[in-house]
């Protein structure tokens, strides 16, 4: 078996999964919201980018930006509709879950009704070339995915590290109670957070538009994957999410290579279940102080 | 008499048998040492008060004594048996009652249903009269249809106490029973604890920040600080202990220094 092939595939998949999961993880850790309307944001951003490409410009980076922006817009809408009214009500976590699910239901049906059932395609953002590395062939979008997601994740993490808004978000992530004491408004910050995570979803939507084409229900699978990885990594831990993304990416690459692609889903869920049974609070559940679920 | 109990928990010659004891309890949480080598013993009808500054590990100790947390090392003895491995519910079945610092009640039940559930918590199931007995004992006079969440602090505490007392436990672990209560309610607790300890011969371990309450009811005081027992004895004795001053009444020690 070809180790290099597995490794390279793992990297590609881990990047995809990481992009999917980290938004969910950040949302959870700073807002305590398990955002199940992620699928809707994903599709919404995709359609935003598609509209942009149809009507304005098909220049790759511009489309990417349009996707990120519309994702951020989607996130802000979710925040206004599904987070602000309930964040201080009792049983918030379950409410938030149901509310975002409901938004997801409404939103996807709306998109289906508005844009019709046909999947949409985005222009090739990274061109149409490929490189071959000792047997493994990487298409432009794969290389682009890896490069962009690593880059954007680095930028987001860096921004969270050094700017004032980032400081606020991180502070809220670590201790929301203390955050309010130093004057960080949960509501205001939540808009930033949802905007950013929405933007990450948008980024994922555009990057993955070659695999998960843009369709109203196209966000469901990414959402299930993202939530699984975020939970598996331990809710609230970005580090855990990254580890989980790598583990699951590796699992998928290995399964695809060894026992066949049809078992990918099976092994994936088996791995998730085993991880949860061994570590009931996810991979990083104990590394970081986990918030009560 | 109280001094006569030897430190390792066995019955001393002539003294009453030790009902409940622990030895060498230590605990680590989150990589931090919370408790270090705690030894305690109580006999039937004795009231043992535990005081200590916030974060001294009193509640953590109770978690271990009641079986909600396993200790890193050490053993807990009850009626001569090693109960270290038993979870709270089986200790409760043996006759150890425990109350909590926060006044917990079942959110979804009414008072009546709570009593019913507690009566039927395990075999033998009790009758309505046992529940009434428990409620009378603590003086809980609340309509059965009231939702438990509507109760205020004192009645919340009483509700749990009533549920425990109807099984006639032989040991009670009370974590800050008077926290958040006003003076007259503290007096009521005071009276209740006396009745339980002196008339019903229940051993009571009580954590309390209200020294005045402990001063009147506790037979013996244990002072904890930073996970260790720093002093033990009668109220006056421990109050005189300079270590206690240093840990608990810093102002005194300041005065002593300056």
């Amino acid at each position: 078996m070809d180790i290099w092939f597995i490794v390279s595939n793992t990297i590609v998949l881990a990047c995809i999964y990481g992009t999917l999961a980290i938004g969910i993880s950040i949302t959870w850790s700073s807002l305590g919201l398990l955002n199940l309307s992620y699928g809707f944001i994903f599709a919404f951003a995709g359609y935003g980018a598609w509209l942009f490409a149809q009507h304005v410009s098909t220049w790759g980076p511009a489309v990417l930006a349009a996707g990120i922006l519309s994702g951020a817009l989607g996130g802000v809408i979710i925040c206004a509709v599904g987070f602000i009214p309930i964040h201080d009500k009792p049983n918030f976590t379950i409410r938030g879950l149901i509310a975002t699910l409901a938004i997801n239901l409404i939103g996807t049906q709306f998109l289906l009704w508005w844009f019709g059932p046909r999947s949409k395609n985005l222009p090739e953002i990274f061109g149409n070339w490929s490189v071959s590395l000792s047997g493994a062939v990487f298409t432009a979008d794969k290389v682009g995915n890896v490069a962009t997601s690593v880059l954007i994740l680095a930028v987001v993490l860096r921004w969270m590290q050094s700017s004032r808004r980032g400081l606020e978000i991180r502070a809220m992530m670590m201790n929301p109670h203390a955050a309010s004491i130093v004057g960080i408004g949960v509501r205001r910050t939540s808009f930033y957070v949802m905007g950013i995570t929405g933007g990450l979803a948008g980024l994922a939507a555009v990057l993955l538009s070659q695999t998960y084409y843009i369709s109203p229900f196209g966000g469901l699978m990414p959402m299930i994957k993202g939530v699984s990885i975020a939970l598996c990594g331990g809710l609230g831990s970005v580090r855990g999410a990254v580890i989980a993304a790598i583990v699951l990416g590796f699992n998928e690459a290995l399964t695809g290579m060894s026992i066949g692609g049809r078992y990918v889903l099976v092994t994936q869920f088996v791995v998730i279940i085993v991880i949860l049974l061994v570590r009931p609070r996810g991979i990083a559940g104990l590394l970081d102080k986990a918030r009560e679920a | 008499m109280l001094r006569q109990i030897s430190r390792n928990g066995a019955a001393d010659q002539g003294g009453k048998p030790v009902l409940f004891s622990c030895s060498g309890i230590s605990l680590d949480l989150g990589g931090r040492e919370i408790l270090r080598d705690i030894n305690l013993q109580v006999e039937a009808g004795e009231v043992l008060g535990i005081i200590g500054p916030n974060g001294a590990g009193k509640t953590s100790l109770f978690e271990i004594l009641s079986g909600r947390m396993p200790p890193k090392s050490g053993t807990v003895w009850f009626k001569g048996e090693n109960v270290t491995g038993l979870p709270l519910y089986s200790r409760s079945r043996l006759g150890i009652g425990r109350t909590f610092q926060t006044p917990v009640v079942p959110d979804e039940l009414t008072v009546g249903e709570t009593f019913k559930a507690a009566r039927q918590a395990h075999r033998p199931f009790l009758t309505k009269f046992d529940a009434e007995y428990g409620a009378d004992l603590v003086g809980l006079k609340i309509s059965e249809d009231t939702s438990a969440t509507q109760l205020e602090t004192f009645n919340r505490r009483k509700l749990l106490l009533a549920c425990l007392l109807m099984r006639r436990p032989s040991l009670l672990l009370l974590d800050e029973p008077a926290a958040g209560l006003i003076n007259s309610e503290v007096d009521e607790i005071d009276k209740l604890l006396r009745t339980l300890a002196k008339e019903m011969n229940i051993a009571i371990l009580i954590v309390e920040h209200r020294i005045e309450l402990l001063a009147t009811i506790a037979d013996r005081i244990v002072v904890m600080d930073a996970g260790e027992v720093i002093s033990e004895g009668l109220m006056d004795e421990v109050m005189a202990d300079p270590k206690v001053h240093a840990a608990y009444f810093e102002d005194f020690s300041e005065e002593a220094e300056g």
């Binding site: 201080d88 009500k89 004032r164 400081l167 606020e168 991180r170 502070a171 670590m174 201790n175 929301p176 109670h177 203390a178 955050a179 309010s180 004491i181 130093v182 004057g183 960080i184 408004g185 949960v186 205001r188 102080k289 | 500054p53 916030n54 974060g55 006044p103 969440t149 509507q150 109760l151 205020e152 602090t153 919340r156 800050e176 926290a179 958040g180 006003i182 003076n183 920040h209 209200r210 810093e250 102002d251 020690s253 300041e254 005065e255 220094e257």
Partner: protein, 255 residues
């Protein structure tokens, strides 16, 4: 034995009638079903430094939290700089806290209210909430470092690794980063060795108040003795000694 008369007594040269920084009227507050503060009144003039003493669990922290809108519920009026902040009924803790903080409150809480992953420097930055404070945060940090020299070496260390005393310093420093008009300091000496406790108190005393005021809650009365303008006792959610200045608590405390 003589009644030590505080400077508010009629007959002694009273302070100039001054702006009220804080005016609490009929405040009750609690957590869910628990009512911790009962119908409490408190007036703080600017430039004042007030001590609140009382036993564990009698509601000192809760009073502070209530002012900051962090209790489960609260009723009554709280005026900060003349603006009503208590009216913002807290529907759950912390909903309006940031607005109150922006209205000029600096709360230095009692427990480990820190962001364990942030470094000391970031932590101090996080206290500089207002835009003005953020802009000259460098200067402010220098000022904090003057008050707490030990922090100098620790600027890049995550706060979660610091010892209790250092955490307190960081936490207090964070509170002093803004130009608040009301500082609420909850048990600054708690969990600190007496010596550090003392130096923390000294630091607090060294803050020039100007138009601001400061309330310090302490179990350790000795630390405050004679260094604050007033000492108020707190018992079961009510203030003692505030009712009449002539009966200030130190009448009884002081032997």
């Amino acid at each position: 034995m003589n009644i030590s008369v505080s400077n508010h007594l009629p007959g002694t040269p009273a302070r100039q009638p001054q702006r009220e920084v804080l005016n609490v009227k009929g405040l009750s507050a609690g957590y869910g079903p628990v009512r911790v503060i009962h119908d409490l009144d408190l007036v703080v003039q600017c430039g004042e430094r007030i001590g609140i003493v009382g036993l564990n669990g009698h509601g000192k922290s809760t009073l502070f939290y209530a002012i900051a809108g962090l209790t489960g519920w609260q009723r009554g009026s709280i005026k900060l700089n003349g603006g009503e902040v208590g009216r913002m009924r807290s529907q759950g803790p912390g909903r309006y806290t940031h607005e109150i903080v922006r209205a000029g409150l600096a709360l230095i809480p009692q427990g480990d209210e820190i962001f364990h992953g942030l470094t000391v420097e970031e932590h101090l930055d996080s206290g500089a909430y207002t835009a003005a404070a953020w802009r000259d945060r460098a200067a402010r940090k220098l000022r904090i470092l003057e008050i707490f020299p030990p922090l100098r070496k620790l600027m890049d260390v995550p706060v979660g690794r610091l010892s209790g005393g250092e955490r307190r310093m960081v936490s207090i420093g964070r509170g002093l980063m803004t130009d608040a008009s009301l500082f609420l300091v909850d048990e600054p000496s708690l969990g600190l060795a007496p010596k550090i406790g003392k130096s923390v108190i000294n630091a607090l005393m060294a803050v020039e108040l100007g138009n601001a005021a400061m309330i310090i809650a302490e179990q350790n009365v000795a630390l405050l003795e004679g260094r604050v303008d007033r000492v108020i006792g707190m018992h079961v959610g009510k203030l003692k000694g505030e009712a009449s200045a002539a009966l200030a608590l130190n009448v009884y405390r002081k032997a």
